[in-house]
Symmetry: C2
Subunit: 214 residues, 2 copies
Amino acid sequence: MADDTARRYRRGRTRLPAAQRRRQILDATTRLIGDRGFWALSMQDVADACGLTVPGLLHHVGSKDRLLLAVLHHRDEEDFRSLAGQLGVDLEDWQGRWPSQVTLPRACEALVRRNATQPEIVRLFSVLQAESLAPDHPASAYFAERQQRALSGFAALAEGRTPDPLSLARQVMAVMDGLQIQWLRDPDATDLVAEWQAVAGKLFAGLRAERAGE
Amino acid sequence: MADDTARRYRRGRTRLPAAQRRRQILDATTRLIGDRGFWALSMQDVADACGLTVPGLLHHVGSKDRLLLAVLHHRDEEDFRSLAGQLGVDLEDWQGRWPSQVTLPRACEALVRRNATQPEIVRLFSVLQAESLAPDHPASAYFAERQQRALSGFAALAEGRTPDPLSLARQVMAVMDGLQIQWLRDPDATDLVAEWQAVAGKLFAGLRAERAGE
DNA sequence: TCTAGTACCTATCAGGTATTAGGTAATGTA
DNA sequence: TACATTACCTAATACCTGATAGGTACTAGA
């Protein structure tokens, strides 16, 4: 009997180095949350997707909540890196501020274009953003901070070019989030980029090309 | 012992007529889903909120999924009724079309104003709308149909006054949904109505007062 | 006052949940 | 080849999940 369990042990599972396994876990979780949301996600689902048992999975991520936060941070980093690349900014000499050739319309366009290529990830954030409106959701604080950061980031780009940059930032963010939901619900009927460009024309109508006082 | 269970039976619970109890259940569920989302909601929570046991609750609603749909339909009806009232439309002689004095800007303003007074309900729909992006969510079909209905409703109001009514409808809906999320996350920092009016000015800039050909 | 209907109960089920404890074997290094 | 590390396992814990079966007692109509 002892022999039996010994023979059954880890039947056919592959053993991976921690970093590689961790990446696989984050990827799988990203996909699964995008499909079902976080509350509906079970550690069993993730473990299955990775060819692990549940405790095997927990060995790498600690707990379900920490898994969620790891996924979010990972995606944020990745997105930021890609966006900077698309805008021609070198991350080596990143000073915490965008260079002057990066304008709000240009940054938005880049963001929307990138999002249009990765619906699963957009869904992940859309679902989680809404789910996390509940104060005791594990990602509640994260999304509150993220909204703050995004808003002031957008506002900074419009600084000096419009009377109320923060208000414009809110409008930009609202349109993006709202369009994405419609697009996810019915991807064939909605052209995310085209629709964005149509609104952008109206939102940015009064935007000055140069900062006031330059 | 039999005596004991008999004495414990329904200790102190109040018995209500079905219609009244059902309404109480719908109200409580609305509040709870707004707080936690549907996946995170348990029948136990609802039962507790109503002073019932879980089977007692199920007696009235059948199943968790049917409870959800009942809540959604109930809210939709209520909202429609209120909106019509605010726009001065008599539901008795409702023909399936809005009278000509109801314009898209006016309808939107009324909608936003009403939403601003009931954050819990707005949260209910925001959370559910995102959760239900998963195709196997019990409200998935409902929200797909609802999005369709809302879009064509908005588009109909703009018919003949703008080159692409459907596109305008999508923009309007996107802004509303997006602003609501920001507002729910941070109600004090966001003035829903004011922010809407600011965007509305831009979105409706080219809208003709009269339908083309009138 | 008897009776039919029904609102709601208790008990139980079959199955999921995340997490912990403690062990096993594959791996990289001395 | 010996050893330490660690990726991952099995087993068990202590829940909670929606749902059903079958009974109890309140209530409205005759």
